[in-house]
Structure formats: C-alpha cells, structure tokens
C-alpha cells in the first residue's frame, strides 16, 4: 500500500500563494528589517571597539556591579583579540532587532491571551508548534519570501523566539493576585487601567523572564541564520563547518558564548535592584521620603497642639 499525504506540496503551494499575493508586504518588511539592522549595527560598529567595550563595562557596572563589569570587559576583549569583533557586532545587531520585534509582538499577544480564554486556547498549540519545529525549517520559506540576507534571518529568529514571551506574559498576568485585581475593579478602575497599573507591573518579573528567554533563543537562532547568509558569528561557524576548521569554529563559538552570557546577565538584572543604578535610585527615594517626612513634621508643628510627632511613636518614622 502506498498512501502518501502530500502535506509538503500543500505547504509549498501555500507559500507560493503567499509570495505571489503579498510580495509587496514582504518587500516592505524586508526593507524595514534591513534598515533596523543597519541602524543598530551602525551604533555598535562606528565607534572604535575599545570605546564600545568601555561603554558596555560602564553599563554593566550600573546594572549589576563591578564584578559583572570586569567580566564583560574581559569577554569583549577576548572577542576582539580573536578577531571576531565585527562578526559579534553583526550578530548582536541581528539579535537585538529580532528580539525587539519578538518582544513587541509577543507581549501584547500574551496580554490578550491572559484576558481571553479563547485566544489563550488557540495560541497555546500555535506557540508549542512554533517552538518545537526544528529551527532550520523556518529558514527555507523565510528565504523564499525574503531572499538572502539579514531579513530572512530576522524573521526566522523572531518567529522561533516569540513563544516564551507570549507564554510567560500570559502566565505572569494570570498569576497576579486575584484579590488585588478585584481591588482595582472594586474602586471602579477601567480594565485598561488595571492592566497598566496593576497587572503589568506585578507580572513584570515573569514578563522579564520571557524577554530574557526571547533574547537567548534569538542568539541561538542567529547562529543558525548565519547559514543563510545573515553573516555574523554564525557565518564563521558555518564556514568552519564546511572547511572543517576547528580553530575558527571555536573562536566564533566562544564569542557566541560571551555574547550569550552578557545578554543573559543584562536582561536578568532588570528590576532586580542590583548594581550602582539601583543603589542611586534607592538613595534618591530615601531622600525623597526623608524630605516629605520633614515637610510633614513641619506642617504638624505649625498646626501645633499636643499631637505626638509621627516619627517618634510609629517607630518607623523617617529612615
């Protein structure tokens, strides 16, 4: 018996149709992707490498502290010393653009899914599908629709990396304490306002975990995208494979690792209150508190009377 369901040809027909019908759209997207990539690439590639390294180290100091600053400086210097700097910058630009787009799409989708059970039920299998389909498979239609270059790399990356963003956003928002949301409702807040003032802020840790995963998945996909001419570190890895060049493969591969660690630590630090920036912020907030308290005390004194000073009895006054 020889039954073969021609799934392949259906899908091919579908993509052909897509290409014919929406070629203008894909062309526009292609231009947009290329433009975004060039812009980000320009930002990192224009200054001398050492200046960029110094700036990244400074940012690392603000985000997590001196240890991370030192580590990132060493990592980036390593990339520079193995002559992978330009490739790394290309890859980074690709990751940032794709991850940015993935975040911009996945967070609203996640919010929508959190607020609507039907949407959630539809999105869940779709996201499972997108994330489990072997990464290479995306590249084929992407190439067809966007031609060779960075654009197919970006689109494949963004589709591959989107799923955790959607999932963790939905999870985070659904996980917000129901009573707190009810409090918003009970005081007559509009659902959009509850979303903005209560649900999203409280779901932030989960959403940030999603962003972190998006970036990590993007990076892994970007290397694969090197195979289709997206360039960057992935290009060198592909070249090393075809030429069986162990040295080059490892130099590019280790550079990917450095980028991965940097991106992971940066995104994981958001909202965690580490580093210099948070310390300054805390100091500023404490000062503001103290000022308000002082003003408040002054007001009380003006009013006069036997009222005890609020700082004294409460035990927690101004800190």
């Amino acid at each position: 018996m020889d039954i073969r369901i021609p799934v392949g040809s259906w899908i091919k027909d579908f993509f052909d149709w897509l290409e014919d019908t929406f070629s203008w759209l894909f062309e526009a997207l292609r231009q947009l992707f290329i433009w975004m990539f060039d812009a980000v690439d320009w930002v990192f590639a224009t200054p001398p490498a050492l200046v960029v390294i110094a700036l990244v180290a400074a940012a690392a100091l603000l985000a997590r502290g001196w240890r991370f600053a030192l580590g990132s400086a060493i990592g980036l210097l390593f990339i520079m010393s193995v002559n992978q700097w330009d490739n790394a910058v290309d890859s980074l630009a690709l990751v940032l653009v794709a991850a940015f787009l993935a975040v911009v799409i996945s967070i609203p989708l996640g919010i929508w899914a959190a607020r609507n059970d039907t949407v959630s039920a539809v999105l869940k299998p779709v996201m499972d599908f997108l994330q489990t389909l072997p990464a290479f498979v995306y590249l084929v239609p992407a190439l067809g629709l966007f031609r060779i270059g960075v654009a197919p790399g970006i689109i494949a990356t963004l589709i591959f990396a989107m799923a955790p963003g959607v999932r963790l956003t939905e999870l985070g928002i659904r996980g917000v304490d129901k009573e707190v949301v009810e409090a918003g409702q009970a005081f007559g807040a509009h659902p959009r306002r509850i979303l903005r003032q209560i649900q999203i802020p409280l779901a932030m840790p989960s959403i940030m975990a999603g962003v972190n995963q998006i970036i990590m998945l993007s990076l892994s996909m970007v290397v694969i995208a090197g195979l289709v001419g997206a360039g960057g570190l992935g290009g060198d890895v592909a070249q090393a494979i075809s030429a069986l060049n162990v040295g080059l493969g490892f130099e590019a591969g280790l550079s990917v690792v450095v980028l991965a660690i940097l991106l992971d630590r940066f995104t994981a630090s958001f909202g965690k209150g580490l580093g210099l920036y948070s310390r300054w912020r805390r100091a500023a907030v404490a000062k503001k508190e103290a000022d308000e308290q002082a003003r408040f005390d002054a007001e009380l004194v003006e009013v006069g009377g036997p009222r005890r000073s609020p700082g004294a009895g409460g035990g927690g006054g101004s800190l």
Binding site: D177, G188, Q197
Partner: protein
Amino acid sequence: MNDAIALKAEGLYKVFGRNAEAAVDKLRAGTPRDQLGGATAAVIDASFEVMRGEIFVVMGLSGSGKSTLIRMLNGLHPATTGSVEIGGEPITATSPKRLREVRRTKVSMVFQHFALLPHRTVIDNVAYGLEIQGMGREERIARARKVTEIVGLAGWEEKHPGELSGGMQQRVGLARALAADTEVLLMDEAFSALDPLIRRGMQDQLLELQTELGKTIIFITHDLNEAMYIGDRIAVMRDGRIVQIGTPEEILTDPANDYVEQFVQDVDRAKVLTAESVMRPARAVVHTGAGPRAALTLMRDEQVAGAYVVNRDRSIVGWVRDRDVFDLVRKGSTDLTPAVKPDHGAVPADTALADLFIPSLEAALPLGVVDHRDRLVGVIPRVTLLAALGGEPEAAATASPRPDPLPTEMVDQLLESAVGAGAADAKEAR
C-alpha cells in the same frame, strides 16, 4: 425610595457553572441545592435591606456563600438573577461604565488578604480610590494623609505594604476604602487574617470610626463573637441561603432554627447580651414628690430593703434605704429628700453583661438600668444576671431576689401608730 435605606438586595441568586439560569428555575421549584447537576448554587434567594449608618454582618460557615454574596453587592460577581441597589442606584443589569461610576462614588471594599498594591507606597495605596476618581495628585495625597492619620499610620506613608505587619496592612486597606469616601463599605472577612489581639483592636477602631463617620458597613465574618460584637444586625447564612436576620440579641435569644441555635451555642453571652435584654421591671420606685410614708409603704409591700427615687419623667435621682425612711417617718418628716442617696450606680441599657458584674456587686439594690435620657427603665437582680449567663433567662423569673427588708410587723406598727399629717399620705399611697 426610602432615604434611610443604603443598600437593598432582592431575590439574589448566584449559580456557578453551566446552565445557571436553568438551575435557578430548579431551585425556585424546590430542587435541593445538591441536586443541580454540575452547577454550584453559591447564593440562593437572598433579600435584605441595609439602613444608612448600620453595621450589617453576614455570618456563616466556610463555603456558605458569604464572599459570593458580598461580591454581588458591588458587581464583582454579576448576579445570576435578582437585583441590588445602592443608594437607589441599580448595580445589577447596568452598563460597565455606569457600574464603574457607582463603584467609584458609592461603594468601596476592604479585602480579607488586604489586596494592597505591593509596588506602591502606603500613601499611594490609600489615595488609590481618589486617583481612580480622577482627583489631582496634590489634593488626593493631602486627603490620603488625613485618613492615614485617622487609622493610626502617620509616619508610615512612604513605606511599601511589604514592610508593614498584617494589622497595619489592613489599616491601609481600611484607609483606602475610607479615603474613597463612599457611603457604603463592604468588608469581606477583613479581620480574619489578623491575630486575636490586633483583631480586637481593629474591631474597636471600626466601631469608633463608624460612630464618627456614620458609614454604612456590610461586614462578612465566620466568627460569631466578632459578628455579635460589631453587628447592629446579623444575617446568618447556611448553604447559600440566609436563614435568619436579626439583632445579635434576637439571634441569641430567639434562634430561627436548630442550625442557628447550634451556631450560637458557644458564643460568649456576657459580651453579646446587654443590660436591656435581661433587665426586669423596676417595682420599687418612688417619686421625689412622694413622702417618706408612701416610700416606706411601698417598700413594705414589695418586701424590699430599698427603692430607687425618680423624677416625674422617671429620670433617676438616687435611692433610699428602708431604715433611713423609717427614721424619717418616726420623726414625722414629710420630705423624703434627706434620705435620698445619689450614688444609685445605675448602668446604661446597652452595657454588656460582662460589664455588669462589678456594678452589680457594688449596688445595694438590684442594679438599675437607665436609657440614654437617664430614665430608669428596669433593674437587674443578681440572680437574673446569673440566670442570663447560664442561657436560661427564664430561670430568673422563678427565682426572685431575697432582700433583707425590715420586719413587716415593725413597719406596720410604726405606720399604724403614726398620727397627724403623715397618716393621710400613707393611705393615699396604698
């Protein structure tokens, strides 16, 4: 529309699950709650009215539908059928926009687990309701500060809720609801998560605030003592139905059925019952105008060793002892005043039994009970007090107080031997 009614619920049903409406029809037709198929009937046919300035407590065991009921009152749960009106404004069957308007201006809520916004400071939490109402920052912070101070949290404005103890967090929750300045306050087990001492403090504070601000409060609890302590009226819920609505004393002394009776069995009666509910008519009472003879005669007839003295309007003046009156009569005096002692020790009618013991021990006569205009409305003999505590107020009727009056013969002798003006008085009094 009666102005005195703050909130009115009529025929409220809430069924969770499929075919809710069909389930309501079945319930109306008399199907028991546990035979509805997949649907859960959380509230069944609840109707009640809450007066302005009243504390209306809803009490019941876990799962009896209290939370569901209170959430229907501000539309957090849409009612399956039935209607709710707050200040004449319908909550059920209204547009989401209108509903939000009502929630902003007419009804606010305090939650069991506080439900504060953890990422905002105390003051911003308190000001939240005002923020939603659209008030400018300066103004709402100023108002929030006042309320924060009222609930005793001055000095904590810039902290985050996570830095506060449970009791303080709930004060913030209370302040947030108070700051919104709505007529009606819904409180769902607001004090249940607090430990007993803090809880008692919060209850007292709530009562104090209520007296001061005159809010209408609907309070949910599964703690009977709490219900009895703060409630003006109590609705007892069981399996989704309201089985009795009444004052704490009515619930206690006249339970509608076995369920309520069992429920109230272990309540601390001394804290719930008041002087008014156990007092008996005061029989040994003389007017200031009556002469010593009349007083003595009365005391002899009532077989008591003393009597309360009141004005024409029954407002209490003091009390007299039979021996002192006896001396007056012997001296032929026609004025009772020299014998009147002002330290009558009468208590207000709403004093809890627990607070009657000491006054009762100190009083020479059965403890007097006065209303808010100081009028003597009854007395509580010690034996009545004991009987009420035992849960058998009727027992006191059979056990009458045993005073230690002057021997009747001695008094008779005096009254009969008396000559002159006093004799006429005595006759008249009899």
